[in-house]
Amino acid sequence: MSTAPPLPPHWFQMLLALADRDLHGLGVMQDVLERSGGAIRLWPAMLYRNLQRLEREGLIAETAGPPAPEAGRPRYYRLTAAGRRACAVEAERLAGLVAVARTRRILKKV
């Protein structure tokens, strides 16, 4: 287990959205929404502010993205190595917690 402070849950969600493909902001929003079954609803201004912060922290980076026909196309983001590591650490931390829940019989074993 890492001693790093836990990743804020919405950051974790956003990083997860970028794990297997590059997305623009709206894509991140929709991925999080779908994956959480509509429970986590992100709102535009905060979403973009957090994307900006993630970028500044070096967890994600702007990327060229797929070629698009129109000029004013949105900015795409990809997960950086650091981002992938942070995401993994958080997943590990959560997995650890889940394991504890299993041993204490909160959850049934798979």
């Binding site: 804020p8 919405h10 623009h24 902001g25 709206l26 929003m29 929709q30 929404l33 509509g38 609803r41 709102w43 535009p44 201004a45 905060m46 979403l47 973009y48 502010r49 900006q52 912060r53 004013g72 949105p74 900015r75």
Partner: protein, 910 residues
């Protein structure tokens, strides 16, 4: 998202720091659109509102977070922007709860559509009527006049106590003298409202204001374009110039700036447009569309001293009060005769001036009427709220078990409370929305039916102030909704409600008492309003029954104005003789005449008239003052056409045209000036000591000229045809009145043809039936009577519904008891009577209180009544009868239902 929503969101995004916005703006917009769509699919129509609320919270939150982030690091950790995200989650939870409450409330209300509809309608009526009347009250009475510092504006008029004129015009020399010598006013202007012909081919009639150069500066509102009049515009032989109102500018020039400098035809004279006033600009609600400078010729002052035709508007110097201005006026009146050596100057006794606040003068007469209406609708709202309170008590009772169950299942009391408040909120907002729509429609209708009944009516609109007022009323009602049912949700009651197997035996005496108070109060208020309406209706009927002095049926009328530029006096007189001759030949026309003034409501002329038999050397101030209230210039056939009986002597005849000067008088004139002599053969002068004498040849019955509710004044009739040769003028503005059995629409084309054959450039003015003329003269009392009648009817219906509802509920509550009593041998008549007696006794108490109240309060109506005492016994007895009947009907249905209770069903059911 709609384009306008996008624009709104872009506006919202301005809260964000510019750098951030520039980088993400377009994408934010897309995301926001997606969010609103998402919320909509999740929550339905409500979702749009929720989505927007969240978008606003989101942008505000992000803006704060980003700005804080830029602050130096030594700031406390409590400003960690990420905490804001958590706060947002909490907000989201709250919003979701609110949505849940709203949906639950809507579902609950939908399950009882009857209840919901009655509540919303009742509220809508109460709120709608209040909003509509408040809109009028606000625009007319409360709002200041639309000028800069309107409180400084005063209306200055003259008074002639001996002749009985309390508020009269001022002559030009008097105006100039007062303007120059007073020490209270920054500026004093004068005006005269007058209709003119505008344009040619065909010309239209517009209201013009003939003003002195000081009037517009005194009012203070700057022109939208161009300029005010200057002193140069009012000197004799100055270029003819005009200023357009915004409305006329829009109509005639489609709001084109090039109107300035263009030439228009005013009464056939080319006139250059030098200014345009802003929208709604007016003086004293005269509805002036065209402003013209009054030509002032100092050379003719002495001759015009007696020609009173101006109203003056003065702007007080800053810091000067109206009391100081009045004190200064007394000084001026005292010094006037010393300064101007003339017999006809204002003085402190017989020829005074008066100063009144401009707004007070405009709206003073309707203030009371509007306040009474506002009071009436407030009472209607009180009754409506009483009914609602009662409905909600009943509903809360019937849902007691539901609440008890939910509370037993763990719903907290605050949760239930919130639920009730939400239901109240939904109901009152729906009521407010419906009420607002009702007010909007009602106001439109009101103003279109009766544009002349109230001053400043063009300023009336439903505005934000009124909207706030509506919401205030709705909010107060919501509070009542929330609080009243809660009185019944004490904790002990919840438990008891569960234990009670649904029976209604737990009626507290407090609640029964509250219900009785509601019935008594509603009935009392309804009585008060119905008595008020009854008095006004009686008064209005009296007005309509007044003998106006002429036979009003089968008369039609229109006006013609001959421009002075193209007609000299002889031609003016000849024109009306020819016109009446032409119309007399139209098949179906029995008789026709032209007259300068149209009864029953016209401006007083108050002309000095010199009776030969009254000596001229009497000491000043001796009564009667030789002044006649109304001069009426007519053509031959006047008395015959109007159906006015000749009391003595004869009427004008064809031979009088071109004959020796003759005059007719009315009975009131005979009584005042000729009581001791035989009026026939007496002579009088109308144009000073050197003018020819007119001989009285007949006395006509009095005709109302100053309004049907006023006493007929003294009146003398001149033959228009005789005027040019004897006094060198004629009336160029005449009303043609025609007696015919044909309808107006058949006659109108004939009138138009007759006029255009004589002069195709002349428009017909105010073509209508004489009944319409009389109706228009009683527009304000009709307006008042109609509205108060509607409100009283509303109050009566609401009170009846309330009484019915409360009694029905009492019967339902006592269902079991009644069944048992019947099983024990009580007969149906007894049961019926017991319920009826309960309702009727409550109504009787309400009736008694209401009558006492109305006797105490009806005095406020006194000034609005005509020929009816405020405590008119007949009205009170009639109202008592109506209320008793309605109350009996409202009580009979529940009583009858009680008597039909089947004891077997009741006993088995428990």
């Amino acid at each position: 998202m709609h384009e306008s929503s996008r624009r709104a969101y872009r506006l919202l995004l301005r809260l964000l720091p510019a750098g951030f916005r520039d980088r993400a703006g377009a994408e934010l917009e897309e995301a926001a659109a997606a969010c609103v769509a998402r919320e909509r699919s999740r929550l339905g129509v409500l979702g749009v509102a929720v989505g927007w609320a969240r978008l606003i919270a989101d942008v505000v939150g992000a803006s704060i977070a980003i700005r804080r982030e830029r602050r130096p690091a030594y700031l406390p950790a409590s400003v960690d922007p990420d905490r804001l995200v958590a706060t947002q989650g909490a907000i989201e939870g709250l919003m979701d709860n609110l949505v849940k409450d709203l949906r639950y409330a809507i579902r609950a209300l939908r399950r009882q559509p009857g209840f919901t509809l009655v509540v919303i309608l009742t509220l809508a009526l109460g709120i709608g009527a209040n909003t509509a009347v408040f809109s009028v009250l606000d625009a007319v009475v409360l709002r200041p006049l639309p000028y800069p510092h309107p409180e400084q504006l005063q209306l200055i008029t003259s008074q002639f106590p001996n002749i009985g004129f309390d508020q009269f015009w001022v002559s030009v020399p008097e105006y100039a003298e007062y303007r120059d010598n007073n020490r209270s006013f920054e500026s004093v202007g004068g005006y005269r409202a007058n209709e003119v012909n505008l344009g040619t081919d065909p010309p239209t009639r517009v209201m013009s204001g003939l003003v002195t150069p000081e009037l517009m500066p005194a009012l203070g509102t700057p022109p939208l374009a161009g300029r005010w009049f200057t002193a140069d515009d009012s000197v004799p032989h100055a270029e003819d110039v005009a200023i357009l109102s915004w409305e006329l500018w829009q109509r005639s020039f489609a709001g084109n700036q090039s109107a300035l400098g263009q030439t228009i035809k005013v009464n056939g004279v080319s006139t250059r447009v030098v200014g345009i006033m802003p929208r709604g600009y007016d003086v004293h609600d005269e509805k002036i569309e065209l402003w013209l400078p009054l030509t002032i010729d100092p050379a003719t002052f002495p001759r015009n001293r007696g020609s009173h035709f101006l109203y003056l508007v003065g702007r007080l110097k800053s810091g000067v009060t109206i009391e100081q201005a009045r004190a200064d006026l007394e000084v001026q009146l005292k010094q006037w005769a010393i300064r101007v050596p003339n017999t006809h100057v204002p003085n402190q006794t017989t020829h005074r001036f008066r100063i009144d606040p401009l707004k007070e003068d405009m709206v003073g007469s309707v203030r009371r009427a509007l306040l009474i209406l506002q009071g009436a609708v407030a009472f209607v709202l009180i009754i409506a709220c009483a009914n609602l309170a009662n409905l909600l008590i009943a509903r809360a009772d019937s849902r007691m078990r539901e609440y008890a169950l939910r509370s037993a299942l763990g719903a907290s009391r605050t949760r239930l409370l919130r639920q009730l408040l939400t239901e109240g909120l939904v109901l009152s907002l729906a009521g407010a929305a419906a009420g607002w729509a009702l007010a909007w429609g009602g106001l439109k209708l009101l103003l279109s039916v009766n544009p002349t009944a109230i001053p400043r009516s063009s300023e009336v609109s439903l505005d934000w102030g009124v909207m706030a007022f509506t919401l205030g009323v709705a909010g107060a009602t919501a509070l009542i909704f929330g609080v009243v049912p809660l009185l019944h949700l004490g904790h002990d009651r919840v438990g008891r409600a569960l234990k009670d197997s649904g029976s209604r035996s737990s009626t507290g005496s407090v609640r029964a008492g509250l219900r009785s108070v509601l019935v008594v109060g509603e009935v009392a208020i309804a009585v008060l309003l119905v008595v008020g309406a009854g008095l006004l209706i009686r008064s209005f009927l009296n007005l309509m029954r007044v003998d106006v002095g002429f036979n009003r049926s089968q008369l039609t009328t229109f006006g013609v104005v001959l421009p002075n530029a193209s007609y000299d006096p002889a031609h003016q007189a000849a024109f009306f003789d020819q016109l009446t001759d032409k119309i007399r030949e139209v098949p179906g026309v029995q008789s026709v005449s032209a007259m300068s003034g149209l009864p029953p409501l016209r401006d007083v002329n108050a002309n000095d008239t010199d009776f030969e038999h009254i000596p001229n050397n009497r000491p000043p101030g001796t009564l009667p003052i030789e002044n006649v209230d109304f001069w009426q210039a007519v053509t031959v056939g006047y008395a015959e056409t109007m159906g006015i009986p000749v009391v003595k002597g004869r009427s004008f005849e064809a031979r009088d045209n071109g004959g020796p000067p003759v005059v007719l008088v009315n009975e009131a004139l005979v009584q005042k000036f000729l009581a001791d002599v035989d009026p026939i053969g007496q002579r009088l002068q109308i144009n000073g000591p050197k003018s020819p004498y007119f001989t009285i040849v007949g006395v006509l019955k009095d005709v109302k000229q100053g309004g049907v509710d006023a006493r007929a004044g003294t009146e003398l009739y001149l033959l228009n045809d005789q005027l040019p040769s004897n006094v060198q003028y004629a009336y160029n503005q005449m009303n043609v009145v025609v007696r015919s059995t044909l309808p107006l629409e058949r006659l109108a084309p004939q009138y138009r043809r007759a006029v255009s054959e004589l002069d195709p450039t002349l428009p017909l003015i105010k073509l209508r039936s004489m009944e319409d003329v009389i109706d228009a003269s009683v527009a304000r009392p009709r307006f008042m009577t109609l509205l108060l009648g509607i409100f009283a009817g509303l109050a009566l219906v609401l009170a009846a519904i309330g009484t019915y509802g409360i009694l029905s509920y009492l019967v339902a509550e006592r269902h079991q008891e009644i069944g048992i009593r019947m099983a024990l041998g009580a007969d149906r008549g007894e049961i019926l009577w017991s319920v009826l007696a309960r309702g009727l006794s409550l109504s009787a108490v309400g009736l008694a209180i209401g009558l006492a109240l109305s006797i105490a309060l009806s005095r406020v109506l006194r000034t609005l009544l005509f020929d009816v005492a405020p405590n008119d016994p007949a009205t009170i007895v009639l109202v008592a009868g109506i209320i008793a009947t309605v109350a009996a009907m409202a009580c009979l249905v529940p009583a009858w239902r009680a008597a039909r209770v089947d004891p077997i069903v009741v006993l088995r059911g428990d």
